[in-house]
C-alpha cells in the first residue's frame, strides 16, 4: 500500500505547501486583454525565444537577399578557383568544380528552411484539424478520418515520394513540400485525437457547450490551446525531420536536384572531405544547427507563453514586480 503511493504523496506536497500563496499583483493593470495579446506579451518577455525568432528571420532574409550583394551565384562556376579556402572574393571558399560555397549555402538554406517550415506548418494544420475533429465529433467522422490516417500510414511514403517527385522536376518546389507534408501528419493526428477524447470530457468543454458555443469555437478556443505543448514540440521536431528527410531523398536523386542545392545536399557532398576541406560543409552544417536551434527556442517560448503554469513566463513577471 505504501509503496504504490509515493508519487501521489509527493505530487500533492508542493501543491498544498505553496498553492494558496497570494502572488503580488501589478496594481496598474486593471484593463483586461484577450488571450491573444496576453500570449504575445508573454512571448515577447522571453529573451531566448525572441533571440530565436530574430535569428530565424535574419537567416531567412539573408538567404533571400544574398543574391543582391554576393559576388557569385550558386550556379556560377569560377574556373580560376577550385577548392579554395575562404577568401575575400569567395567568402566561404569554393568547391572542387569552382562553385562559390557562400552562394550555395545561402541557396541551400533558403530551400531547406522553406521546405522544413512549410512542411511542418502544413502538417500540423492537417494533423490538428483531423485529430481534433475526429476526437471531438466521434461517430462516423472519427471512423472515416481514422480510416484515412491508417491508410496513409501503411503506404510506403518514401517510395511514393521517390516515384512521384521526378514527375515534379522543375521549379515546382511547392508540390514537393505538399508531398512531404501529406505523409508527415498522421501519427500526430492520432495522438491529438486521443488527447481530444480526454479533453472533450473535461468540465470546461462541457461548460462551453452549455453556453451554446458552436463546435468550431470550442475546438479553436479550448481544445487546440490545451494541446498546444504537444503541437509545438511536434512542429519543432518536424522541421528538423523534414530537412533530414529531404536530404535523404536528394541523396537518392529525388527531391532537390543539381544544380539546385539544399543544406542536405551540401552537407552530404561536403562531409566526405570534412577533415581536409572543412569549409565545404562546416558552414552549411553550422547554419542547419543554428536554424533548428532557433526553431526550438521559438517553440519553447510559444509553449511557455501559452501555458499559464510555465515557469519562465511567471518568473520574469515576478522579477519585474520586484524591480518596480
Amino acid at each position: 500500500m505504501t509503496t504504490t503511493d509515493i508519487t501521489d504523496g509527493t505530487a500533492r506536497v508542493p501543491a498544498s505547501g505553496g498553492a494558496p500563496v497570494d502572488v503580488p499583483v501589478d496594481p496598474a493593470e486593471t484593463q483586461g486583454v484577450t488571450r491573444g495579446r496576453l500570449v504575445l506579451r508573454r512571448f515577447l518577455r522571453n529573451r531566448m525565444a525572441l533571440a530565436g525568432l530574430a535569428t530565424l528571420v535574419l537567416l531567412y532574409a539573408l538567404s533571400l537577399l544574398s543574391p543582391l550583394f554576393a559576388p557569385w551565384h550558386y550556379d556560377q562556376y569560377d574556373y580560376t578557383a577550385f577548392l579554395q579556402p575562404p577568401s575575400a572574393s569567395h567568402w566561404f571558399g569554393t568547391t572542387q568544380i569552382g562553385e562559390d560555397v557562400f552562394a550555395q549555402t545561402m541557396r541551400g538554406l533558403q530551400r531547406s528552411l522553406t521546405i522544413g517550415l512549410t512542411t511542418a506548418a502544413i502538417s500540423i494544420v492537417i494533423a490538428s484539424l483531423v485529430g481534433a475533429s475526429a476526437g471531438y465529433f466521434g461517430g462516423w467522422v472519427d471512423r472515416g478520418l481514422m480510416w484515412l490516417v491508417d491508410l496513409l500510414l501503411v503506404l510506403p511514403s518514401f517510395l511514393i515520394i521517390a516515384v512521384v517527385s521526378p514527375a515534379l522536376r522543375g521549379d515546382s518546389w511547392i508540390l514537393f513540400v505538399l508531398l512531404l507534408a501529406v505523409f508527415a501528419w498522421m501519427i500526430t493526428a492520432r495522438i491529438l485525437r486521443g488527447m481530444t477524447l480526454t479533453l472533450r470530457e473535461r468540465e470546461f468543454v462541457k461548460a462551453a457547450r452549455f453556453m451554446g458555443a458552436p463546435s468550431g469555437t470550442i475546438i479553436r478556443r479550448h481544445i487546440l490551446p490545451n494541446m498546444a505543448s504537444l503541437m509545438i514540440i511536434d512542429v519543432t521536431i518536424t522541421v528538423g525531420g523534414t530537412i533530414l528527410l529531404e536530404t535523404g531523398l536528394s541523396f537518392f536523386g529525388f527531391g532537390v536536384q543539381p544544380p539546385d542545392v539544399s543544406l542536405g545536399t551540401l552537407i552530404r557532398d561536403g562531409s566526405t572531405s570534412s577533415l581536409t576541406t572543412p569549409w565545404l560543409f562546416l558552414f552549411s552544417g553550422g547554419l542547419l544547427v543554428v536554424s533548428v536551434l532557433a526553431v526550438n527556442f521559438i517553440g519553447d517560448g510559444l509553449r511557455d507563453a501559452l501555458d499559464p503554469q510555465a515557469r519562465s513566463a511567471r518568473r520574469t513577471r515576478r522579477k519585474k514586480a520586484a524591480a518596480s
Binding site: V13, P14, S16, V25, T30, A208, G212, P225, P308
Partner: protein, 732 residues
C-alpha cells in the same frame, strides 16, 4: 491488538490519563521546500504526541501544513524537502533513517489511508491481491500467498464489504468510492499497525458514505488498538471521531486541546472562524455563515507577528510584534493551549461557539431573500415533468446487443419558481447529475418534458435554444476542472458574452463589473485560473455564469470541492446575489446542512426518482424517506456530543447502485405499476415510501445491502416502513 480500551469509544474526548510512553512523539518538526521564490516553510515547529489507542485530529485549511507534517512521519516527503526536529515512534527516532529501514516501518508499524481511494489503488490488480501484497511484503500473518488471500477476505469482511469472499477478486473500478476507501483501510490495518495516519479519508466521499467510512476507521482502531492521526479540513469529521484536536495555521499549531474543549470554548480566533463557517442543520436559514476573509499568508517570507493577524477580526497593533507561542489557556481544562495574545478577551466573552464567531467576525444579517409574491403566483422558470433518461447496457460481444437499460433518471418532476432556491439532494449515483445534464443539454428528453421559462425543450429551434442558454447557466462542482486552464480570467468571463455576440465595448465594461460583483479584485483580470485559490476559482465560475444575466442558475455541488472556511464565503455570495439579482437556483448537493442553509424548497432524490419534495422546514422537520434519514445523521454538526449520538443510529449500508433492469429479468408493466409513486401528504410535502417488496429493483440489482441491514434492528425497520408517512407535526 494490544491495548484496546473501551473508554475511547464510549466517551470520545474523555479525559484519559496519558500513558507514560507515547506512541508517536513529534517535537519541533520543521519542513521546508525549495521553490522559485525561496524556501517555503510548510511546517514550522509543530509538536504533538499520540498515545496508543488515541485519535488525534489535525485540522486546518489547505496549505496549512497538516498533510506535510504527516508525510514527514511516513518519510514520504520528496528528497528536496528539508526536515528538522524529531519524530519518535515508540521511542525510536524516525528522522534520518534510510529508506530501506523506513520501508520496514511503513505499512507494518505505521499505515496510511490516503484521500483519494481511486488513485491510491492500482487499477490493474484485484483488491484482494493488493491487500495480500501488503501482507506478503512484510511477511506478516499471511506467510503464504494462500494464507494472505484468506486474511484479505477476513479484512474485507471486517471493514464491511458485503460478500467479501466474492468481492476479493474484484478490481478497484468495480468498487464504489466508499468501498474503495474501506479497502484502503483494510490494507492499512492488514499488518496490525501501531499507528494509522488518515489523510482526509472522507473528503472525496459522499456524506452518507463519509459516516460509514469513519465508522469503519473506528472499528479498525478498536481491532488493532492503534493510534490514529486524522487529518482533515472538516471540523464535523473531527467532532465525532477524535479525542484530541490540533488546529494548524500557516505551518504551526495554533490551538490544541481535547475535542470538547476546542468545540465548546475555542480560544483562538481562527478556530472560531472555522467553527462558524460550517453550515449547520440545527440553525437553518437566515443566519449567515462566517467566512474567514483573505488567504493564508505566503510561507516564503512570513512577516513578524501572528500569521493570522491580517485575517483576524481581533487584530490589534501588538499582534504584529511577535508570533505568539502556544500557551495554556487560563481557566481552561489542562492540555488546552492556544497561540493568541488576546486569549484573555475571548475567555471573558460570554457567548459560545458559533454565536461568538458570528459576533466577533461581525457578519451582517443575510438580506431578506423571500420574494414578495406568494409562491403560487410566481412564474415557474424551470419546470421538469416526468423526465426520463435511460442508458442502454450493451453486451461485450461483437454485435454489442442491448441487454438492458440503466434507469438513471426515472420520472423526475419538480419546478423552480422565480426567485426561489430548490435544493436537489441525494447520494451519489442517484441521478442528480444526470438530471442536470439532461436539463442543461436542452435536447428533447427520452420521456417527459423540460420547460425553461415556459419554452418546451422538445420544440426548440436552434435559435431558440441559444436564446434560452442565455437565461439558464450552470456552475460546476470542481472549479478547477470547469475553467479552461489556458484562458485568462478576462476571456473566461467574457466567453458566454462572446458566444452570444455582445459588442466588444460592452464586454470590456461588463467583465470588471462582474468581477466586482463576485468579490474579485480587478487587478486579477489577466491572471490564469491556476493562480487562484479554490474559492476564488468558484467565484470566477459564478461570474461567468452571471455574465448573461440569467434567470436560473443551476449549481452542481458548487461548494463540495472547497474548504469549509471558503465554502462559507461562496454560500454567502450566492445568498447575496440571489437577493440582489432575483435569481432562481437549482442547487444540487449531497450535503444536507448546506442545502438547509441556502434552499427554500428541497427535493430528495433516490434511485432516479424524487421521493420527497417540499419546503425546507417541512422536509427537515419530518423526514419521510429513509434516504433523507440516512443522510441527516452525520450532519457535520460541529458539536461532539450530538455527533456521537447520531453516529450510533447511522445505517452501515453501502450506497445502492442505480438499477440495471435486464430484459430477461422481466420487470413487466405489472411489476412497475405496483411500485409506489409520489403522493401528496398534508402540509404540501409529498413523499414516497416503499415497502420491502419482492419486485423492488434496488434489492434485485444489489442484494447485498439488505442482507446487512437486519444486523441493526432499527435500520431494517426504517427500510420496511409500512405505515403511511407521518404528516408534519402541527402544534395544536
Amino acid at each position: 491488538m494490544t491495548t484496546f480500551d473501551t473508554d475511547v469509544l464510549a466517551e470520545p474526548g474523555g479525559a484519559r490519563p496519558a500513558p507514560a510512553e507515547p506512541l508517536l512523539e513529534v517535537t519541533d518538526l520543521d519542513v521546508s521546500f525549495p521553490s522559485e521564490e525561496g524556501r517555503v516553510r510548510a511546517v514550522r515547529g509543530v509538536s504533538y504526541r499520540v498515545a496508543p489507542g488515541e485519535v488525534l485530529g489535525i485540522v486546518g485549511e489547505s496549505g496549512s501544513g497538516k498533510s506535510v507534517s504527516s508525510l514527514a512521519v511516513m518519510g514520504l516527503l520528496p528528497p528536496s524537502a528539508r526536515v528538522g526536529g524529531s519524530i519518535r515512534l515508540q521511542g525510536r527516532e524516525l528522522l534520518g533513517l534510510s529508506d530501506v529501514e523506513l520501508s520496514r516501518i511503513r505499512g507494518r508499524r505505521i499505515a496510511m489511508v490516503f484521500q483519494d481511494p481511486l488513485s491510491a489503488l492500482t487499477p490493474v490488480y484485484s483488491v484482494g491481491d493488493q491487500i495480500a501484497e501488503a501482507l506478503l511484503i512484510h511477511g506478516g500473518r499471511g506467510g503464504s500467498p494462500r494464507a494472505a488471500r484468506k486474511r484479505a477476505v477476513e479484512l474485507l469482511d471486517l471493514v464491511g464489504i458485503p460478500n467479501a469472499a466474492g468481492r476479493v477478486s474484484a478490481f478497484p473500478h468495480e468498487f464504489s468510492g466508499g468501498m474503495r476507501q474501506r479497502a484502503m483501510i483494510a490494507m492499512a490495518i492488514a499488518n496490525d499497525p501501531d499507528l494509522i495516519i488518515a489523510d482526509e479519508p472522507t473528503t472525496a466521499l459522499d456524506v452518507t458514505v463519509q459516516a460509514q467510512v469513519l465508522d469503519v476507521l473506528r472499528t479498525a482502531q478498536e481491532v488493532t488498538g492503534a493510534g490514529i492521526v486524522l487529518i482533515t479540513h472538516d471540523l464535523g469529521v473531527v467532532a465525532g471521531t477524535a479525542d484530541r484536536v490540533i488546529v494548524m495555521y500557516a505551518g504551526r499549531a495554533v490551538e490544541t486541546g481535547g475535542v470538547d474543549d476546542i468545540f465548546a470554548t475555542p480560544r483562538m480566533p481562527y478556530t472560531l472562524g472555522l467553527l462558524g463557517s460550517v453550515p449547520r442543520l440545527d440553525t437553518g436559514r437566515g443566519q449567515p455563515l462566517v467566512p474567514i476573509d483573505g488567504q493564508p499568508p505566503s510561507l516564503v517570507a512570513l512577516p513578524p507577528g501572528c500569521p493570522f493577524g491580517p485575517r483576524c477580526p481581533l487584530h490589534v497593533a501588538t499582534c504584529d510584534t511577535a508570533e505568539p507561542d502556544l500557551l495554556p489557556v487560563p481557566g481552561a481544562a489542562p492540555g488546552h493551549d492556544a497561540a493568541c495574545i488576546r486569549v484573555g478577551d475571548l475567555v471573558s466573552a460570554d457567548a459560545e461557539g458559533g454565536e461568538l464567531a458570528a459576533e466577533i467576525y461581525d457578519v451582517g444579517e443575510t438580506p431578506d431573500t423571500a420574494p414578495a409574491a406568494p409562491r403560487a403566483e410566481r412564474e415557474p422558470v424551470l419546470a421538469v415533468d416526468g423526465l426520463v433518461k435511460h442508458f442502454p447496457v450493451r453486451s461485450g460481444g461483437f454485435f454489442r446487443r442491448s441487454v438492458g437499460t440503466v434507469h438513471a433518471v426515472d420520472g423526475v418532476t419538480f419546478d423552480v419558481r422565480e426567485g426561489e432556491t430548490l435544493g436537489l439532494v441525494g447520494e451519489s449515483g442517484c441521478g442528480k447529475s444526470t438530471t442536470i445534464l439532461e436539463i442543461m443539454g436542452l435536447e428533447p428528453p427520452i420521456g417527459g418534458a423540460v420547460r425553461v421559462l415556459g419554452a418546451d425543450t422538445a420544440r426548440l429551434s436552434k435559435a431558440g435554444r441559444r436564446r434560452i442558454r442565455r437565461d439558464m447557466q450552470i456552475v460546476f462542482q470542481d472549479p478547477m476542472a470547469s475553467l479552461d486552464p489556458r484562458l485568462p480570467v478576462r476571456d473566461l468571463i467574457a466567453e458566454p458574452m462572446e458566444i452570444q455576440g455582445y459588442a466588444k465595448e460592452r464586454i470590456a465594461q461588463r467583465v470588471p463589473e462582474l468581477m466586482r460583483l463576485v468579490g474579485l479584485r480587478s487587478e486579477q483580470i489577466n491572471r490564469y485560473p491556476a493562480e487562484f485559490s479554490g474559492g476564488q476559482r468558484q467565484r470566477i465560475c459564478i461570474a461567468r455564469a452571471l455574465a448573461l444575466e440569467p434567470k436560473v442558475l443551476v449549481l452542481d455541488e458548487p461548494v463540495s470541492a472547497l474548504d469549509v472556511s471558503i465554502q462559507a464565503g461562496v454560500l454567502n455570495l450566492l445568498d447575496e446575489l440571489k437577493a440582489q439579482l432575483g435569481l432562481a437556483y437549482l442547487f444540487v448537493a449531497h450535503d444536507l446542512s448546506v442545502v438547509r442553509h441556502i434552499a427554500d424548497r428541497v427535493a430528495v432524490m433516490y434511485l432516479g426518482k424524487i421521493v420527497e419534495i417540499g419546503s425546507v422546514d417541512e422536509v427537515f422537520a419530518a423526514p419521510q424517506h429513509r434516504t433523507r434519514r440516512r443522510c441527516s445523521p452525520r450532519s457535520r454538526c460541529p458539536t461532539p456530543r450530538s455527533n456521537a449520538a447520531a453516529s450510533a443510529s447511522c445505517c452501515r449500508a453501502t450506497c445502492p447502485a442505480p438499477r440495471t433492469r435486464r430484459r430477461a429479468a422481466g420487470s413487466g408493466p405489472a411489476a412497475r405499476s405496483s411500485r409506489p409513486s409520489t403522493r401528496g401528504t398534508g402540509g404540501g410535502a409529498s413523499s414516497w415510501s416503499r415497502r420491502a417488496a419482492p419486485h423492488c429493483p434496488a434489492q434485485r440489482a444489489n442484494p447485498s445491502p439488505t442482507t446487512r441491514w437486519p444486523a441493526t434492528g432499527h435500520a431494517s425497520e426504517r427500510w420496511c416502513r409500512t405505515a403511511p408517512p407521518n404528516p408534519p407535526p402541527s402544534d395544536g
